[in-house]
């Protein structure tokens, strides 16, 4: 993952020896799941970049560097975004258990 500045985690190193992989079956569902997870993580990353830029960086551009205040703001902004992510996930899960996931998300009755 050289372009994404957050590197680390997720499916690690490259594939090993070419010959053997030709004979292995590809579970399309596995790949689709990985793709979904990739989409979700990168989408979240872009939203964080956007939101925290709006909240922390005034569009004055006195200089090209981040000053100390902006840097600290960014650190805290990202941390809080993660917290919100967790909390919302938990709340959704709780609602899901109570109402049945389809009902909770789409608003249609079970």
């Amino acid at each position: 993952m050289s372009f994404y500045p957050f590197g680390g985690g997720s499916s690690g190193g490259g594939s090993s020896g070419g010959g053997s992989s030709q004979q292995q079956a590809v579970n399309a569902q596995n790949v689709a799941m990985a793709e979904n997870e990739l989409e979700m993580i990168t989408d979240t990353f872009y939203r964080i970049v956007d939101s925290c830029y709006k909240k922390c960086i005034p569009p004055k551009y006195i200089e090209g560097e981040l000053n100390k205040g902006e840097s600290v703001c960014i650190d805290r902004c990202v941390a809080k975004y993660f917290e919100v992510n967790t909390k919302v996930g938990e709340a959704l899960q709780k609602r899901g258990q109570q109402a049945g996931v389809g009902g909770a998300v789409t608003g249609f009755g079970a």
Binding site: M1, S2, F3, Y4, P5, F6, G7, G8, G9, S11, G14, S15, S16, G17, S20, S21, Q22, Q24, A25, V26, N27, N30, V31, A34, E35, E37, L38, E39, M40, I41, T42, T44, F45, I48, V49, C52, Y53, C56, I57, P59, Y61, I62, E63, G64, E65, L66, E70, S71, I74, D75, V78, A79, F82, N85, T86, G89, L92, Q93
Partner: protein, 99 residues
């Protein structure tokens, strides 16, 4: 978790997505700096003030992007470790990573 053939396919998907995302990033940055810096339409040419602003805007956003990336990576790793520990003590929960 994934066999070699799957890893190869996933790697291909990642590379294609990286290419698309980079192009989006590029055009996004251009629009951002245009919106933030350009407000003077008395001439077609950029004023020197606008040029300086564009330079700083580009620098600033790139640095911001980099810093968010660092924090994101750290927090993401922390989160995954916590979830792994939670899973080890409670094996019956579903594997939803971010939920």
């Amino acid at each position: 978790m994934y066999n070699d053939a799957e890893k190869q396919q996933i790697q291909k998907i990642i590379e294609q997505k990286q290419m698309r995302d980079f192009l989006k990033f590029y055009t996004n940055l251009i629009e951002r700096c245009f919106n933030d810096c350009i407000n003077d339409f008395t001439s077609k040419a950029l004023t020197s003030k606008e040029e300086t602003c564009i330079g700083r805007c580009t620098d600033k956003f790139l640095k911001h992007n980099e810093r968010v990336g660092q924090r994101f990576g750290e927090l993401n790793q922390q989160l995954m470790q916590q979830q792994q520990q939670a899973q080890q003590s409670q094996p019956q929960q579903s594997s939803g990573r971010w939920f």
